[in-house]
């Protein structure tokens, strides 16, 4: 009996392979998107952890100078001789062949165990003392002179203190790591080195917090995709259960108990879940491996976080993928199983009662929607990044839950205005189908809203960014000299070939305890004309010309709550007044702009090789040629404004490529959800359509009506998704951006995009409805007649 029952149940899938494909596809897609995103997040977090271990010496406390300056060797020795077990670190950036690399100089003799040196084999110490640079293989590839060592964190090069001091041209130490193990007695810090203070180090959590919004974004997308995937599974399972009702009835009538039937169905689903889970994990790996390089580039560019574009996966990840597939199946099939368990052997297996029951469901959903809306409001009240995302999630969920009731209300209104019997039937019948379609429509709503919201955010960002680039890039040509010694010759060469040379000189330093860039700005009227400041003194540029005060970027200002007129302490132990604040999109770290004379007078180790060239109305191409041919500058050391702009934009595009890819995937999944729902309904609806056919409507008419219905529902859903999407965009721009990045962006509207999305959603719905409609049209009249003979 058991074997026969199982064979009878499974034979269904042999007869309907397409359904099987839908089920497996939906579940694998859901699992794939979820686990892909998880893999990316895990990889990034792991990199942060490793990086923080090296940077912060593995969670050790540190000593830094109160004024942010370098710590002298004398201070270090005084501390050691007083019993303080501290180890010096020099921290800076060097130029590699492909971008900058962070360089850490360490003292192998005093380095506490378990930190970065723990990653080094004893043998590597020799290399360090001989002046070698060590880096993770992927980072070593960016540095000609570095030796690859697997155990180091990516994105960082390690060297001996002396080597690093030479490369970075510094004598002092950036910080002193404080060992976990300290001797029995030692004097207070204030007695030895009053200029130093103890600081808890940069930890994985700090970097994690910085990039939280990015990962939350990804996770939210993963979750959304998973939810949408579950709608598909729900549709497919519902369809399979619906179509097998006669089989269930027969098996029950033959003596199979309800618990056993349910057990068989659970086993069957488990099998599919595992199968789809494995498939999904493989797909997820592919997704993650494809997207990770972009994500890594984004994190590096946007946050300065080092993540290498290579994927390594933990067993836990595989298992969690399978678990989520099983959990998802259980969630999607729970309702169906429940109904099977409660089904009496001789129940008329038709869905009308189900539809009636859903009026209650609408009411229940509306209540839940109100609850979610309240949660969203609370999130708004809390503020912060978490509050922002609570607001976002609550809003989306509330809208999705309220969707069926809203659609039902709209359809009721439409029905009231209908006059002809056919159109009255059409509206009533559409309403009756809502419960079966509502999950798929919710999925569509969420996908559309996410598309509109994220699309609006990205485009707004893009528009702002482009406009800002146009203003900010004042020089026509940017030049990097080979060596600082070339400056006099270069200046002489350019004397009659340009209107002005604008030095773009900078150093890396710590400002208010966080890494920052300090630039010098020359006194030239073009800045006053072209540099838009967010807030400033009226005579900012005059003051800058006199060497008084400085400018800071919006990120630094927001982080430290600074305003024009405040005084900012700078490394090297001096302070200057803030003249103005400028926007600095895409830059995660603080930036300070000093009058050039002040920068040069105050700091050593400035990188002075970069210049902007104002050509006026001279021929740019000719100047390029002259610089390459006559002056002998390598071509790669020249970049003109247009190229720089397109480079900046390409970084920008790459940043949001992941978002775009996930957007399209989500929409695709939503389309699939509609398809499976419609397929389920099509089979159930035969008894309702047969009378219409008997009254004289052709099968062609019925098919057309089915298609029209799908289009109308999709259009209505889109109409509701539009305001939701815009609300989403507003939350992203005005709440989450400010919290996560430190800048607020103006919101622009892009109706062209909406039109495109509208067409896309109609197409998706039409495509999904086409198959059931075509089936309707080709259905043998005998099927329809049989409805009457089977009338129960």
């Amino acid at each position: 009996m058991n074997r026969a029952a199982l064979a009878a149940l499974l034979s269904h899938w042999r007869r309907r392979p397409f359904q099987l494909v839908t089920l497996i596809l939906g579940l694998s897609l859901a699992t794939a998107l979820w686990s892909g995103v998880q893999a990316i997040n895990a990889e990034a977090r792991k990199s942060y952890g490793a990086a923080a271990d090296v940077l912060g010496g593995g969670g050790l406390a540190e000593l830094v100078r109160r004024d942010g300056g370098a710590i002298s060797q004398a201070d270090f020795v005084a501390l050691r001789r007083a019993g303080w077990q501290v180890s010096p670190v020099i921290d800076g950036w060097i130029r590699g062949e492909a971008g900058r690399v962070r360089l850490l100089g360490v003292d192998p003799f005093t380095l506490p165990e378990g930190g970065s040196a723990g990653a080094l084999a004893a043998g590597d110490m020799t290399g360090l003392l001989d002046g070698a640079l060590f880096a993770h293989p992927s980072t070593a590839a960016r540095l000609a002179e570095a030796t690859a060592i697997d155990s180091l964190a990516p994105g960082i090069a390690l060297a001996d203190l002396d080597t690093a001091g030479t490369l970075l041209q510094t004598n002092g130490f950036t910080r002193l790591l404080i060992s976990d193990t300290q001797p029995l007695t030692r004097p207070d810090l204030a007695e030895i080195a009053p200029d130093l203070r103890i600081e808890t180090p940069e930890t994985a959590e700090d970097l994690g917090r910085l990039t939280d919004s990015f990962h939350l974004n990804l996770t939210a997308f993963g979750l959304l995709s998973f939810a949408v995937g579950l709608f598909i599974v729900n549709g497919a399972v519902g369809l399979a259960f619906e179509q097998r009702r006669p089989v269930f009835r027969t098996l029950r009538a033959l003596g199979l108990t309800a618990p056993r039937l349910v057990t068989f169905l659970v086993l069957e689903l488990l099998l599919f879940a595992l199968l789809a889970g494995i498939l999904g994990i493989l797909l997820g790996y592919l997704i993650a491996a494809t997207l990770l390089p972009d994500v890594a580039a984004t994190l590096r560019g946007l946050y300065g976080a080092s993540v290498e574009g290579q994927l390594t996966l933990a067993p836990a990840w595989w298992l969690s993928g399978l678990a989520i597939a099983c959990a998802g199946t259980a969630l999607a099939a729970g309702g169906g199983l429940w109904r099977v368990a409660r089904m009496t052997p001789l129940a008329p297996a038709r869905p009308r009662a189900w539809a009636m029951a859903s009026l209650n469901a609408f009411r229940w959903q509306l209540g839940a929607a109100a609850g979610c809306f309240l949660i969203a409001g609370a999130g708004w009240g809390i503020g912060g990044l978490l509050g922002g995302f609570t607001l976002l999630g609550g809003l989306l969920l509330a809208a999705a839950l309220a969707l069926p009731a809203t659609l039902a209300a709209i359809l009721s209104l439409a029905a009231r205005s209908a006059r002809a019997p056919l159109s009255e039937w059409f509206w009533a019948d559409t309403r009756q189908q809502l419960p079966g379609l509502s999950l798929a429509l919710m999925a569509l709503l969420l996908a559309l809203a996410a598309n509109i919201g994220v699309g609006t955010m990205v485009s707004s960002f893009r528009a702002t960014f482009t406009g800002w680039l146009d203003q900010r890039l004042v020089s026509e040509l940017y030049v990097t000299l080979e060596d600082e010694a070339d400056i006099p010759a270069f200046t002489a060469f350019m004397a009659d070939k340009s209107e002005a040379l604008l030095p773009i000189w900078e150093i890396e330093a710590e400002v208010l305890g966080a890494p920052a860039e300090i630039y010098g700005v020359a006194d030239h009227p073009i800045y006053a004309e072209n540099w838009p400041l967010l807030s400033a003194h009226p005579d900012t540029w005059a003051r800058m010309a006199r060497g008084e005060g400085l400018l800071i970027n919006e990120q630094l200002a927001r982080r430290e709550a600074l305003h024009p007129g405040d005084t900012l302490p700078l490394p090297g132990g001096f302070s200057m007044e803030i003249n103005g604040i400028y926007s600095d999109y895409g830059n995660p770290i603080g930036q300070v702009v000093l009058p050039l004379d002040v920068l040069v007078a105050r700091y050593d180790g400035i990188d002075r090789r970069d210049f902007g060239v104002l050509t006026g109305d001279r021929d740019l191409a000719a100047l390029r040629t002259a610089l390459i041919r006559d002056y002998g500058l390598p071509e790669e050391n020249l970049i003109d404004q247009a190229a720089l702009k397109s480079f900046s934009l390409s970084i920008f595009e790459r940043t949001f490529a992941v978002t775009g890819a996930l957007n399209i995937l989500t929409l695709g999944v939503a389309g699939l959800a509609i398809l499976t729902s419609l397929l389920t309904l099509a089979a159930m609806r035969l008894p309702q359509l047969a009378p219409l056919w008997a009254l004289g409507l052709t099968r062609k008419d019925l098919a057309r009506i089915e298609l029209l219905r799908a289009l109308i529902l999709a259009a209505l859903t889109f109409a509701l998704a539009l305001p939701l999407g815009l609300a989403l965009a507003w939350v992203l721009l005005a709440v989450i951006n400010v919290e996560a990045f430190g800048w607020r962006l103006p919101m622009f509207l892009f109706p062209g995009q909406w039109l495109w999305l509208f067409v896309l959603s109609l197409a998706a719905a039409a495509l999904a409805a086409l198959w059931p409609a075509w089936q309707m049209r080709r259905r043998p009249p005998a099927d329809l007649i049989r409805v009457f003979t089977h009338e129960r």
């Binding site: 019993g83 077990q85 004893a122 043998g123 020799t126 003392l129």
Partner: protein
């Protein structure tokens, strides 16, 4: 003594076997370094200071102490200097400190490393000072010193005073280490009277006893096939002292020699066949088996003594691990002393 230790240190710091080019020095033999010379005679206080033209050097103090609580304690204070490259530049020196405190409650130890040329570690001959971090051996002169070191759970502050001259080991301070002629410059001060305080997290103990200083420098102190080292320094109740060591080679052979020191400080160098060190019993310490009871035989002096380690757990779990701790002497002569065992 401790040549093996220091060489192992070099290996760990450099982790390149002999002959590899990665670390200048070892592979190029000792050519570029100064070599011990049998004709050299010590001049003090200059020779109390560092000899950076040689590759390795140490200032090594051990003390057998008795606490006011009646317990036996052992103290070790060591400063090693290794040259990374020949030439004697301060920046090319690596300093390493080891501190050990043997107690009835267990063996306590700490170690420190320092880069030369920064002031973090160093030695000055007069007034004498040797230091690494907050560990100090300082005095007006090397016969009158204070000795301090500490780890996470112990600290010692000792005063050492000796009233007899320094004792050259080997032939007027030229101490041969193998049949092939590897040697070092080596002198000792075995006559310190010691008083001071041991500090633990929960208590302090006043202690007194006898101390022993070894000063040694060389550039290639071991033959290539010598694998380990057993070294003793004994304070006999008669006032006489015995320093002895045996270097074990890969073929199971030993090179054993030492110095008998009379109560007035006159050294009597021993020939290679005069002294015998025989293992009597071993103890499992961690996953190693170490000889913890020895028979020491010196027929020329009528010495037939047994030495027994006081605390078998006196294991220095430093980056280069070895055993170093106090011993008791029984038999024809009685007394206390220190034993070092490396290469096990």
């Amino acid at each position: 003594m401790n040549a093996k230790t220091i060489l192992t240190t070099l290996f760990v710091l450099c982790a390149t076997p002999l002959g590899a080019q990665g670390f200048a020095g070892l592979g190029q033999a000792a050519e570029a370094y100064a070599l011990p010379d049998p004709e050299t005679r010590f001049t003090f206080p200059e020779d109390h200071g560092a000899h950076p033209e040689f590759r390795i050097e140490w200032w090594y103090v051990t003390a057998n102490l008795t606490g006011e609580d009646g317990a036996t304690y052992g103290v070790q204070w060591t400063l090693f200097r290794n040259a990374l490259r020949p030439g004697g530049a301060p920046g090319d020196q690596v300093w390493m400190g080891h501190a050990g405190l043997a107690t009835p409650q267990g063996h306590l130890f700490a170690e420190r490393f320092a880069r030369g040329g920064t002031g973090q570690a160093g030695v000055a001959p007069a007034p004498f000072a040797a230091w690494i971090d907050e560990w100090n051996m300082t005095g007006p002169d090397l016969n009158t010193i204070t000795l301090t070191a500490q780890g996470a759970s112990f600290r010692y502050d000792l005063d050492l005073a000796a009233d007899r001259p320094f004792v050259p080991q080997g032939a007027d301070g030229y101490s041969v280490k193998s049949a092939e002629g590897q040697a070092s410059h080596y002198y000792s001060q075995p006559f310190y009277q010691v008083t001071g305080t041991l500090t633990f997290p929960d208590r302090e103990v006043r202690v007194s006893g006898q101390g022993w200083l070894d000063r040694e420098w060389s550039s290639q102190p071991l033959a290539g096939d010598q694998t380990g080292w057993d070294w003793i320094s004994l304070h006999l109740e008669s006032g006489e002292k015995l320093m002895g060591f045996q270097l074990r080679d890969t073929k199971g052979g030993t090179y054993t020699t030492g110095t008998w020191i009379t109560a007035n400080g006159t050294p009597e160098p021993l020939g290679t066949d005069a002294l015998r060190l025989d293992e009597v019993a071993t103890t499992e310490i961690g996953n190693r088996s170490l000889p913890t009871t020895w028979d020491v035989t010196l027929p020329a002096k009528g010495l037939e003594a047994r030495i027994t380690v006081t605390y078998p757990d006196s294991w220095m779990g430093t980056r280069i691990p070895y055993w170093e701790g106090p011993v008791a002497v029984t038999g024809s002569h009685k007394g206390v002393g220190y034993l070092e065992m490396s290469g096990y």
